[in-house]
Amino acid sequence: MADQVLDAKGLNCPLPILRAKKALKDVPIGGTLQVLATDPGAVKDFEAFCRTTGNDLVESKSEGKQFEFLIRRRS
């Protein structure tokens, strides 16, 4: 189970990233944030976001039109 869950379904670029950034602040370092989204652009964007910010993208999967990301806070 993730420490926090963010429902970003129905939101378009750049809102899933901005909301995730905000939500990560409430996750302890080493903890995880699960993001649910429907924006297909979020797949590439969460990869780039995590690479740039030094957080780990532990999981990125899609089920139908829904995407699910698991981010481990590293910094």
């Binding site: 750049p14 809102l15 901005l18 780039a48 976001f49 910094s75």
Partner: protein
């Protein structure tokens, strides 16, 4: 978060004040800030209107053959002759705002508030303030007044400099 000396910087010159052109600078500024960059926006000419307290942004269909609105199950462009008819730009603006809402796209007001919250630095062009006779009272709190030299100083320290 990278330490102070490693923080990357991005600067932007924002020159346009229509609803559609207000998006790229605010989307990039908020996202870059979320990714840990230090962001400065310099608002000049029509871009300065994006700092007004009350935003009333519109789009113009005139001279924009690439603007095709999804309507009646197809995409409809706007010939210049039609754009000139009173009410067409207002109707197109309403339509765009409805699309923005329907597609889960943030409003400019929202993005601007998020940029301020994320400590994006904003510089309002003093010369444009004088030229268009705006006062500090017309503008939101926060932006500092400055000119070309203020922007250039920021740009020389930034890895990314954009003109929008």
């Amino acid at each position: 978060m990278a330490d102070e000396n490693n923080t990357k910087r991005m600067s932007m010159i924002v020159t346009k004040g229509t609803l559609d052109w207000a998006y790229p600078p605010f989307i990039l500024a908020t996202t870059a800030a979320a990714m840990g960059l230090d962001v400065t926006m310099f608002f000049t000419f029509y871009g300065l209107t994006l700092l007004k307290k009350k935003l009333d942004l519109k789009i113009s269909t005139l001279g924009n053959p690439a603007m095709e609105m999804p309507m009646f199950g197809m995409h409809i462009g706007m010939p210049n002759l039609v754009s000139a008819i009173p009410g067409v730009d207002a109707a197109a603006t309403t339509m765009m705002k409805n699309l923005i809402k329907k597609k889960g796209v943030a409003s400019i007001e929202e993005l601007r508030a998020m940029a301020i919250e994320a400590d994006v630095k904003m510089i309002a062009c003093q010369m444009t303030m004088d030229l268009f006779e705006y006062t500090k009272d017309d503008m939101i709190e926060g932006p500092v007044l400055g000119g070309a030299a203020t922007y250039i100083e920021t740009a020389t320290k930034s890895e990314i400099n954009l003109f929008i």
